[in-house]
């Protein structure tokens, strides 16, 4: 009390008390007694209450939680149940993506955003930041025709993508059977009792990023079985890894045949005639929710920089 914003000697309620009253926070006994008997303060409280109601009304208008579809491939790890039910759009998507986005964004080459899925105004090809000649297309894989693939953009437009032997192709999903003794892997997961429960296994490439709460290890697979394997690091350390059908496996040197029809697909390359795209990279990352789009950034147009970006898109 006694600290009106306009007159510090005012006998009326302090603004802090008025705000507390309006927001349901406790106020002192004297302040409450004063409010009960002071028409001026009651009017002020009513005014602030109207302002507060206005703000709360805007909050009520804030985006509700559109339910994101389950991942289209049931072989892939389902979104955590708490995430699937009744979360904000950004929440559900980001929780599923968090590991991959942390990896990609930590590398400074991936910017994931949501919204606009299915809208007719989306541009089919988008520029890749950092290299003006490079284009990117996001969509779902329609079909594979020999060395070409056709993806369907969010706008509904079909984009024909040509590949060569130099095109980097990344597939993901329940590909544990592709992990055999001698395979080079990076494993990211939760460490416990000297073992790693794998959330993500990157086959063929190395990620050396430090991610809070996530243990990563890189090495050669030994003792591969359906339940897991042992990673032998360059120093000879043997790290047991457990994996389940829900573990995301990303194969960074895949073939077109390993891509999943209907799967979210991102292509990076050079625009060709009639809207075609000559691909430097074709990527199907794991657990990519409906409506998610990833924009790639590269430091330069060098192949190394582009390959780095493609690897980040793939989840590495």
């Amino acid at each position: 009390m006694n600290a009106d914003s306009a007159d510090t000697r005012s006998p009326h309620l302090d603004l802090e008390d008025l705000i507390a009253e309006v927001t349901g926070q406790p106020i002192g006994g004297r302040a409450r007694e004063h409010l009960a008997s002071c028409a001026h303060c009651q009017l002020e409280a009513n005014r602030w209450n109207l302002v507060a109601d206005g703000v709360r009304g805007l909050a009520a208008d804030a985006p509700e939680a559109p339910q994101h579809a389950r991942p289209r491939d049931t072989r892939r790890r389902a979104l955590p149940r708490p995430v699937r039910h009744g979360l904000l759009a950004v929440g559900s998507a980001a929780a599923a993506l968090v590991l991959l986005v942390v990896i990609g964004s930590a590398a400074g080459v991936v910017d994931v955003h949501f919204g606009g899925g299915g809208g007719g105004t989306q541009t089919t090809l988008t520029a890749v930041t950092g290299c003006a000649q490079l284009e990117q297309a996001n969509g779902t894989l329609e079909r594979v025709n020999g060395n070409s693939v056709v993806i369907k953009a969010a706008s509904g437009q079909l984009v024909t993508v040509t590949t060569t032997a130099a095109t980097k192709i990344s597939a993901s999903g329940a590909l544990l059977s592709d992990i055999t003794d001698g395979t080079l892997v990076s494993v990211a997961g939760t460490s416990s009792d000297g073992m790693i429960a794998a959330d993500l296994i990157l086959v063929g490439d190395k990620t050396s990023l430090t991610i809070p709460g996530i243990t990563t290890v890189y090495g050669t697979v030994s003792d591969a079985s359906t339940a897991g394997f042992t990673v032998v690091t360059s120093t000879g350390t043997r790290v047991p890894v457990t994996a389940t059908g829900g573990t995301d496996v990303v194969v960074t040197r895949a073939s077109l045949a390993m891509l999943t029809p209907g799967g979210s697909t991102m292509v990076v390359g050079h625009a060709g005639p009639s809207g075609t795209l000559s691909a430097l990279g074709v990527v199907q990352p794991p657990d990519w929710p409906t409506g998610a789009h990833a924009g790639m950034h590269v430091g330069s147009c060098s192949r190394a920089s582009i390959d780095h970006g493609i690897l980040a898109l793939a989840g590495g």
Binding site: L15, V51, V83, A94, V98, G189, P212
Partner: protein
């Protein structure tokens, strides 16, 4: 490994424990890479953060991106939370920095200091009268027309569940300045309502 079948029932987090303890525990689990805890954190704070950012930016897609960046920062930095503020004000502070960074290049319309220092008169002037006769729907429209700094302080004071000292912490200004800004925001709101009333 995350068990997708383990449901985190709402009642789990509505026991008699202090919510601040629950938040701190959530952050501890997030720091250990617990995805369920991250999902719970979204449930607990995501909507408030989104509402606040949306209030400031006025752009849904941008606001969602900022919230996403904020939550990634939480995922990365949960271990850095020192408990010197509430988790709610901590995450809103992160969102505010993210918003500021995103808007930095946009020449955001800024309310100058003289205007912010403007205090409402002690008597019921014509602007106050405008607020007295305004309908809620009109107030909501008028709030959207306020300057970002005013929308921000109103959102923090009335939409985020923070106390005024916590609002001051988020804005990194003294409590007295928060009060001045709130008063100036209401003056501006009255002014908008008054103009709209005159145009009817």
């Amino acid at each position: 490994m995350n068990d997708p079948h383990r449901d985190v029932g709402a009642t789990t987090f509505t026991t008699s424990r202090d919510p601040a303890d629950d938040d701190a525990e959530l952050l501890r689990r997030i720091g250990q890479g617990d995805e369920d805890a991250m999902a719970e954190f979204y449930r607990e704070h995501g909507r408030v953060v989104l509402t606040q950012v949306l209030l400031v930016t006025g752009e849904r897609v941008l606001a969602e991106e900022i919230v996403q960046d904020t939550m990634l920062a939480v995922w990365r930095g949960a271990g850095s939370f020192r408990g010197e503020s509430s988790v709610r004000s901590w995450v809103i502070s992160i969102a505010r920095r993210q918003t500021r960074d995103r808007l930095r290049g946009r020449r955001l319309r800024v309310v100058d200091g003289a205007f912010l220092a403007d205090q409402p008169g002690s008597g019921p002037g014509p602007e106050v009268m405008a607020l007295d006769r305004a309908e809620l729907a009109e107030v909501r429209v008028a709030i959207r027309e306020l300057a970002p700094a005013h929308r921000e302080v109103l959102g923090l004071a009335f939409g985020s569940g923070l106390s005024l000292p916590e609002v001051a912490g988020v804005l990194e200004i003294p409590v007295g300045t928060v009060k001045s800004r709130l008063a100036a925001a209401r003056t501006a709101l009255n002014r908008i309502l008054n103009e709209k009333g005159q145009n009817r």
